[in-house]
């Protein structure tokens, strides 16, 4: 795995720290009791549920451990993780299911 250059790492840490704080402070600090526009609220609600799947989908279809060639093992583990997370509504159950299925499939292959 390529290591991350130190200046990049610290720029990211500081940038994210300041940016996240600004987002968290924005309304409670500056806006007083003024309500936020409904159309903006509506988009903010779906940012995380859009960005995270968009980040993960290419990583599942072209997994890094196989240098990008599609792999049934990784796809199956990914599907199990998602399915258990969705059905139990619990992140940790999903993650355990994924880890176990990845391990089992490796051993079977």
């Amino acid at each position: 795995m390529s290591s991350i250059p130190t200046p990049i790492l610290w720029t990211v840490i500081l940038g994210l720290a300041l940016g996240s704080y600004a987002l968290r402070f924005a309304f409670i600090g500056f806006m007083g009791g003024k309500p936020i526009a409904p159309w903006l609220m509506r988009h903010l609600r779906y940012t995380a549920v859009a960005i995270i799947p968009a980040l993960v989908a290419p990583l599942v279809v072209w997994p890094a451990p196989t240098e990008g060639s599609p792999s049934l093992i990784h796809f199956a583990a990914a599907a199990a993780t998602f399915a258990v997370g969705y059905l139990t509504r619990n992140v940790l159950y999903g993650l355990s299911a994924g880890g176990v299925s990845l391990l089992l499939l490796y051993l079977a292959a």
Binding site: R24, G29, P35, V49, A54, V56, P58, L59, G98
Partner: protein, 242 residues
């Protein structure tokens, strides 16, 4: 149960948040392990969790740094994951907006999924709670979860430096993201946002500089907002027909 003093409000928040330790600690630990695998040393991983204090955004930044994505893309993507914090901030303002500025400034740092979710339920159920008690409750919900998150990260990083590369943990980060998605899909609009983001991300990954992520994220966001509007209109129609 009615809350009578500021102190008891804090401890109620503290108790209500206790189950979240079992979520925050393993996830913080995993972040530490993966950060160490990516080459971060223990103080770096610790500083990362302490300064940013937002799990999903930290995982996003870590993944993109490993892909050598441009700095600006890393920052935009991780902050986009955190945009929901602005929504939390907006939604708690009617309840906490009258507290002193220094309290609101500290509260902003502690604005995370679990403190928001617990507080909004508490404030809606007990609308007559005074502002000082609300603030105490909010801080209580972070009393144990926040330290647990940061300490677990440091422990994870300590362990992570000892894990040999041959164990192939480089697929664990995608699995962590996948596990996070399921519980987020609370309404059909969330599912629409997720589906459109995934469908866009695959062809969009051809774009240079990891721009595909931003494009797919925006597409998903718009799909979610439109689906919500459409569902509201459908509901209005069926109610009008009754």
């Amino acid at each position: 149960m009615a809350i009578t003093t500021t102190k008891s409000a804090f401890w109620k928040g503290f108790r209500d948040s206790a189950p979240f330790i079992f979520m925050a600690s393993p996830f913080g630990f995993l972040f530490g392990v993966l950060a160490a695998e990516a080459g971060l040393i223990v103080p770096e991983a610790f500083a990362f969790s302490l300064a940013v204090f937002a799990g999903a955004a930290q995982f996003t930044a870590l993944q993109l740094m490993q892909e050598n994505a441009p700095l600006i893309i890393i920052l935009i993507s991780a902050l986009a994951v955190n945009l929901r914090m602005a929504m939390y901030s907006a939604s708690l303002t009617p309840y906490l907006g009258d507290a002193p500025m220094w309290q609101r400034a500290i509260a902003a740092y502690f604005m995370v999924d679990q403190s928001y979710a617990l507080s909004i339920v508490q404030f809606e159920n007990e609308p007559r709670m005074p502002v000082a008690h609300r603030m105490a409750y909010f801080f209580g919900t972070n009393g144990i979860v926040a330290p647990a998150w940061v300490i677990a990260t440091a422990l994870g990083a300590l362990v992570g430096t000892r894990i040999p590369d041959s164990w192939g943990v480089d697929f664990v980060l995608p699995l962590a993201f996948l596990a996070m998605i399921g519980p987020m899909l609370r309404t059909p609009a969330h599912i629409a946002a997720c589906f459109v983001a995934v469908a866009t991300s695959l062809p969009a990954s051809m774009l240079p500089y990891n721009l595909g992520l931003i494009v797919a994220g925006i597409a998903g966001m718009m799909a979610g907002a439109q689906a919500e509007l459409w569902l509201e209109r459908q509901r209005a129609k069926t109610e009008a027909a009754k």
